[in-house]
Symmetry: C2
Subunit: 154 residues, 2 copies
DNA sequence: TTTTATTTTATAATTATTATAAATTAGTAA
DNA sequence: TTACTAATTTATAATAATTATAAAATAAAA
């Protein structure tokens, strides 16, 4: 299953092959990305990168993320952008589990049998792929809900 | 099928029952919302409302949208927010068709009932609902792609 | 080592959204 | 119908995420 998960080597190679220079900043961002499965935002990546390289600038983080996306080594997830676009190094088609309380986002690699849209429902669209999102409560938030019988958000 | 699609009367009633005043601005925004199936953004609603009521302010549009969402008469879609949250008066659980080229967003009312996540894949999440998004090209964008491929006219 | 195009950084600009506070008004009661 | 008052609208400022710009720094080639 998880075949196309990006490695640092693969991403560095992508940059090299497109004629780009390797820099310590890009290397650091790539390392952070591939070791983070939480679908972090640009700001989160910046914060972690800046902790190691204090001179790191946000522009470099944004630039590097955009380059990697353009080169196909990284995927943007616009689906849960309450606080910015989230990035994903899992390049396989996959689905997601989203905690409606704490916004944790987890990959699902399970392959669902034949979800096909009846042509009459397709409104003339040429369908390329589909993605399922499961909304629910993560284990941590279930616990918190039990402890305090207080309602929360969407 | 679309039995929970909001009507102007239903939305006005929601506001009334929550002790709010009816204003021409709110009425105009509600009318626009229920007659627009494109999942418009706040800015798009503002532009259309301002065309009819030149004194309309963005704050009123944002306030009204948030009120209706809080009262359950309107749904926010964070999924395709390349240019802001999009709003949906279709309150039934439903799926979407998204054009990756022009970002048109269309409802799918078809019921794919038999999609269940195996417990071992659920990572301990308590699942509340799921939503499928089909990504593809709308009829218009398919045409444009064909024209580009075979250069003939216009 | 020198050169140079690329990259990084600091900074400003832009866009979507939220906050604030003064002016207006819907709904109510005299 | 008029006056009252709390809710609403508006203009404006503030904030947050992102993009643009241009000078300083540097990776890679010569
Ligand atoms: Mn993912
Ligand atoms: Mn919809
Ligand atoms: Zn959670
Ligand atoms: Zn299209």
């Amino acid at each position: 299953m998880g075949k196309t998960m990006s490695t640092p080597e693969a991403l560095i190679e992508l940059l090299r092959q497109s004629g780009r220079k390797m820099t310590p900043q890009r290397r650091a961002i790539i390392e952070l990305l591939v070791h983070d499965t939480t679908h972090p935002t640009a700001e989160e990546i910046y914060q972690r990168a800046a902790a190691m390289m204090p001179d790191m600038s946000r522009a470099t983080v944004y630039n590097t993320l955009h380059e990697l996306v353009a080169l196909g080594g990284l995927v943007e997830t616009h689906e849960f952008s309450e606080s910015g676009i989230r990035y994903d190094t899992n390049l396989d088609p996959h689905h997601h589990l989203f905690c409606i309380h704490c916004h944790a986002l987890v990959d699902i690699s399970h392959d669902f049998a034949e979800i096909t849209l009846p042509p009459r429902e397709a409104a003339g669209y040429q369908i390329i792929r589909h993605q399922i999102t499961f909304y629910g409560l993560c284990p941590t938030c279930q616990e918190r809900n039990k402890e305090q019988a207080s309602p929360s958000n969407t």
